[in-house]
Subunit: 346 residues, 2 copies
């Protein structure tokens, strides 16, 4: 299995640099908080669940360098690191979740000597990584019930091993379904501007031997109208209490198209993506990235010099477009607020 | 005004090579049918109305080289050239229209000596070019009535001077509206895979000083939901009798999104785009282009080697999504079959 992120024996964190894929398979080694934060901001590691794992790892690495006389001073510095990191990618709930897990563990073990506490935080970050893989496998097991043999699945962005510590969310469901029923076909949206579909999902599906076809984002509606899509399956960066889903820009368009064609629209995400503090999707902060991602491809300009571009990295799909949300605890159906209560209690 | 195509004093046809824009402004000179057909196939010149003009020019150039003893032999060869050319870009009605105009002129002047007939066909091709500019200006004059000052207009692909002999269809309407009301803003879809929006529309709007913002195709739905789009305005490659519109891939998605958000969806096209022989859009042949246009950007691969891609160049928007169709004869409203009868009679 592809490892997007792992701890080395030397106590550093090794990341597969996703900005270089599929052309080059290059790993970066992060020894401290700053290099992890840079890697997260530059999207060397991306995908909501992977951001949770990377967030926890960044915090654990950051903790090692804190010079403090007592727990209060230590914790204050840790909290500052957490705030800085959360702002690097504000949309994904999982990043905040990973940060908070480490902060909570620190509070839990506040009686430990600081050195022992620092070591415990690394163990916690490693456990979060392992847990993520198991979570994804559970999502896959639940989700495959929604897929029938022969299904033609449209997906967007990357939700596979690369977007998680391993296995994947929406791509994990496809992986689990493919293991049982061999006749699946995936239509992969290239996902401009950062091309996660073309660069990452295509690469993962190729490695797994799952049949797929790449399309430009402009083509999804056409193939739905032609009757060539049976279901849409995507991930999520944050899900509000009412089931509104923030995900990669372009997701909302797919949801509207799916509704227009009577095609089910499914979201796969770990429970850590659900943000009960948000009543609905309107309050979810949407990251606006630099216009160069739109204006250039592979460092080469595609528009005339001086062109202005907008680059919202995410959009919000209102829950009325969402047929079901697949989590590691089971599948949630509308009304989501009630379903989430059941899921989060279990 | 930018000239996408013009006749030289030496009797050749000069094209602005649109595959090189916006990086380089390079002209290619076509002296014969084969070089024109190559330029049309490689999209050095593209856009439905420009294809009509270029088709007529290619036929006129082709006619010069025909060695025939009498009119029947001459006309048979001309018809063969026409068939070859129509297959190079099968979707645009205008290409066939341009071809047919030259064939019809040849029949009309069949009594002329062959040399005089060949000269007459060049004059006819030149007249078609001039006529196209006037047609577009008339489309602009009619269409601007649909635009109010302050409008934020979403457009797709390129429908400007470059897509025509000059002035433009949908972009011609924007140009005409902007000349009167200075507060317009254009949201430009980059239009993958060939990026006509990013490369060509952005370039034209910049030259005209019309304010615009470039977005990736994935973003259109998001901006509509945010209330930042007042109307959608696109061109057309072929319009069926019932008002179904074949246009650049991605147009259908915009039409569905516009309907979902209650935003008017307008099409601007010359009457030569309307194909009364097609009862509806299902019969319109949709060109499938080579997968490399999806798999590469600027010659650089964006997906792993061995990836399969689909590349339909056009889609069909059913007439129920189309609020109005702007032509040089006036604006057609649903039901289109009746409106077209009135328009084509006038």
């Amino acid at each position: 299995m592809i490892k997007s992120i792992e701890w080395t024996e030397q106590g550093s964190v090794r990341l597969l640099d996703q900005t270089r894929l599929p052309g080059e398979q290059i790993y970066v080694e992060c020894r401290d908080f700053v290099s992890m934060a840079e890697a997260i901001g530059a999207m060397r590691i991306r995908g909501a669940p992977a951001l949770g794992v990377a967030g926890a790892a960044a915090m654990a690495l950051g903790a090692q360098a804190i010079q403090a006389g007592d727990f209060e001073a230590f914790y204050a510095e840790l909290a500052t690191l957490g705030e800085r990191l959360a702002n690097v990618r504000p949309t994904a709930k999982n990043l905040t979740w990973g940060i908070e897990q480490i902060k909570r563990s620190a509070l839990k073990w506040k009686e430990l000597p600081l050195q022992a506490l620092k070591e415990a935080l690394v163990r916690e970050a490693k456990a979060i990584l392992e847990q993520d893989i198991q979570t994804n496998q559970a999502i896959g097991e639940h989700g495959k019930a929604l897929i029938t043999n022969g299904s033609r699945i449209l997906t967007h962005c990357n939700t596979g091993s690369l977007a998680t510590a391993g296995y994947g969310t929406a791509l994990g469901v496809i992986r689990a379904a493919f293991a049982e029923m061999k006749r699946l076909h995936v239509l992969v949206d290239e996902t401009r501007p950062v091309l996660q579909g073309a660069r990452l999902t295509a690469w993962e599906l190729q490695q797994e031997g799952i049949p797929f076809t790449l399309i430009a984002d402009t083509m999804a509606g056409h193939f739905m109208k032609q009757g060539e899509v049976d279901l849409v399956l995507v991930g999520a960066d944050r899900i509000a209490r009412n089931g509104d889903v923030a995900n990669k820009i372009g997701t909302y368009t797919l949801a509207v198209l799916a509704k227009e064609h009577g095609i089910p629209f499914y979201v796969a995400a770990p429970r850590s993506t659900i943000d009960l503090s948000m009543t609905n999707g309107e309050a979810i902060p949407l990251e606006e990235r630099c216009p160069e991602e739109v204006l250039q491809i592979g460092g080469k300009p595609i528009a005339p010099e001086g062109t202005k571009a907008k680059n919202p990295a995410f959009d919000v799909t209102p829950s009325r477009y969402v047929s079901a949300i697949i989590t590691e605890g089971g599948i949630a159906y509308p009304p989501y607020e009630r379903s989430f209560c059941d899921l989060l209690r279990s």
